[in-house]
């Protein structure tokens, strides 16, 4: 570490929002919750491969701790902007059918992992995880606790995505009782017109009730999601939403950019093109978010995340221990990840795999007594090296090329000649600074992390089956 870096360099520089620069670099790109990204998984990866990889992961001198993701795909009504894998239904019995398969998947999966491997991280995502009622939720958590060694430490990261429209204080207390200590809530925008246009009407009161209950029940961190670029959004109205959100004082705020891709996500056809804010407004919304949240005391974590300075995530970023995985930024990244439920992704050792992405396929595999994985990817040395570059850039905003090269047994600049040319172009544009040993993302470049990371992505030029996967815009 440089002698002059007394505090983490990412924090030494406040991010600078440069609308012109961002507009110029606003191309499509992956969000790098994994590298390689899911479109590059293949169906040659088999259940036997997965079993062998899990066995090998148990055999390490220090087996990695575990992280579990459970996907609950159901939602009571469709939010029109959503691109998640989900099923809209009002029939809550469908959750029972799904839960029965989840329990079987847990019964098949848990014995593959040595019992002394602790689960430090658990995340329930969706869909709407609180589609499950109290009995169903308790059944699920009991099964996980029976099968796995779930941590009881205060530092555990057991999170659940909650739709406040279908939760109250009693729901929140129940979630705390079964072990959750982190929550993320969808807000998107409090403006009535926007809410109507995206089919998600949610009051501040509903939201506040859940957040207050979370605090009272001992949740360690409450995160809320906002989206800019939604129909009918204006900077004047979004200013009110931001003020209202800040008044709720969530520990973390994630601000996503709406990606309008109606050809891929059917529900988005309900959104009228004419209602979408223009490019200038979208940029202004981001700039406004950054300055308003910064003034309110939130730290910029990276990509689209903000956190209060005493939140675990802000602390992990300061200490350089933050990681990025399928749940976004995390303080427990160095785990083997187990994905349970339809479409979920696992990451064990040097491999990724994904479960069947439709309910029928998922049910059929489980009912036949198979692990429901459908495709995956074995990582080679090059994948591992590039994943590490991207991880470090996304989390720390800089890379010590010499130390990195030594760690991986490569000469960095010789290994990445074309990539360094791309980086030089970004340097000319002021996104990065490159010295003899160090690659540092500038204050201006921090909003364009994806663009910098893309320089090191070997798959962007080589899309499978001749088709380039569709990614959302960098912002």
């Amino acid at each position: 570490m440089n002698a002059n870096t007394l505090i983490h360099p990412v924090l030494a520089r406040a991010p600078v929002f440069d609308a012109e620069l961002i507009a110029r670099h606003n191309v499509n790109g992956p969000r790098y919750t994994s590298y390689p990204t899911a479109p590059h998984f293949n169906e040659q990866f088999s259940e036997e491969d997965l079993r062998a990889i899990v066995r090998a992961s148990n055999e390490d001198p220090i087996p990695h701790a575990l992280s579990i993701y459970v996907h609950i795909p159901f939602c009571l009504s469709p939010c029109f902007y959503c691109g998640c894998t989900r099923i809209i239904t009002r029939d809550r019995r469908r959750a029972d059918q799904y839960l029965a398969r989840l329990l079987r998947e847990i019964a098949m999966t848990a014995p593959l992992f040595d019992r002394d491997r602790r689960v430090n991280q658990l995340h329930l995502g969706g869909g709407t995880p609180n589609f499950l009622d109290a009995t169903q939720m308790t059944t699920l958590l009991d099964a996980l606790r029976n099968g796995f060694n779930l941590s009881t430490d205060a530092e555990r990261e057991f999170g659940i995505e909650v739709d406040p429209r279908h939760a109250d204080a009693a729901t929140v207390r129940m979630l705390a009782d079964v072990g959750f200590n982190r929550m993320s809530l969808g807000i998107q925008d409090f403006d009535a017109e926007v809410q109507l246009a995206v089919n998600r009407v949610q009051s501040i009161e509903q939201t506040r009730e859940v957040i207050v209950a979370a605090r009272e029940s001992g949740f360690r961190s409450v995160s809320v999601d906002l989206i800019h670029g939604l129909p009918k959004q204006t900077t004047e109205k979004f200013a009110r939403t931001l003020d209202e959100v800040i008044a709720l004082r969530p520990d973390r705020i994630a601000t996503y950019a709406y990606a309008h891709m109606p050809s891929r996500f059917r529900a988005q056809n309900q959104i009228k093109d004419a209602d979408l804010p223009d490019a200038a407004t979208r940029l202004a919304l981001i700039g406004q978010t950054v300055s308003t949240l910064g003034a309110a005391g939130y730290r910029y974590i990276g990509l689209d995340h903000f956190a209060l300075p005493d939140d675990d995530l802000a602390r992990a970023q300061r200490e350089g221990t933050m990681q990025r995985n399928f749940q976004g930024y995390s303080t427990h990244g160095d785990c083997d990840l187990i994905g349970l439920g339809m479409s979920s992704i696992g990451h064990i050792g040097r491999s990724f795999h994904q479960n069947a992405r439709d309910l029928l396929g998922y049910y059929a595999a489980i009912d036949a007594g198979h692990l429901p994985m459908q495709r995956g990817k074995l990582l080679d040395d090059d994948d591992v090296i590039r994943a590490d570059v991207i991880q470090r850039l996304m989390c720390h905003g800089e890379l010590d090329m010499r130390a990195f090269g030594e760690h991986h047994g490569i000469a960095f600049r010789e290994y990445f000649p074309v990539e360094m040319e791309r980086i030089d172009a970004l340097q000319a544009d002021g996104l990065v600074v490159v010295t003899a040993d160090r690659l540092t993302i500038t204050a201006r470049g921090r909003f364009l992390l994806r663009i910098v990371a893309m320089c090191f992505d070997a798959y962007l030029d080589a899309a499978p089956d001749g088709a380039r996967p569709t990614y959302s815009k960098a912002l």
């Binding site: 088999s46 062998a52 148990n58 055999e59 390490d60 001198p61 220090i62 040595d114 002394d116 074995l378």
Partner: protein, 247 residues
Amino acid sequence: MAQPSPIVNLRELRQSCADCALNPLCLPASIGGSDLLRLDQVVKQRMPLERGEILFRENVVHPALFVVRSGSLKTYATLPEGDVQILGFHIAGELVGLEGLSGNGHRCSAEALERSSLCEIPFDLLTDVAAKVPGLQQQLFRVMSREFARELEHPVMMGRKQAMSRLAIFLRSLSDRLRGIGHDPRVLHLSMSRQELANYLGLAIETVSRLFSRMQAMQVLDVDRRSVRIVDPPALAALAEKSDDEA
């Protein structure tokens, strides 16, 4: 993971003692042309074993010496209740099968921990050649003695009450042996699982992992999955030599 189809490296199979990198370990320094040829004729170079393949099983009569040329093996005895006790791990340059030379059958089983190649020397042929090649008999005794001395490390190590000392002794021994065959003694690639290591060290598997974590926290080791880097060899030696009453 799809097992790679076994590729037979003909050069590897045909390689003779003369150009084997390990020959200083096996052969007397004085050995010359015709004697080498004589020896080459009794040394059988076997097809490589894949991970999990058995070289020989307990009680099978197969009096031969095996030299590990690459890869690694474990030897183990089956206990009456069906459990196994791991007796040793054998890396390149080491002998396996000494306990079966009496002709009463092997006293343990030997299994490859990874893809491994071996030389096999039938005992009767070896005794013939050893009688004719000057220095070979002495060299054989030296090699066997070295092997025997190494195997004594296990009971001595098992006498240590401190779990940390046991693991440190094992790692130091592995490091010394790697140095002996010209490898970097600071970089250990553990081909055995932590379960196998725990069995060999007489410790619970959680304990083995806890010890590795502690040695990593003490900055003695740097552990990245199966690869273990000895960051501080003197500290490792100190741990190996620490007496049981020192806390």
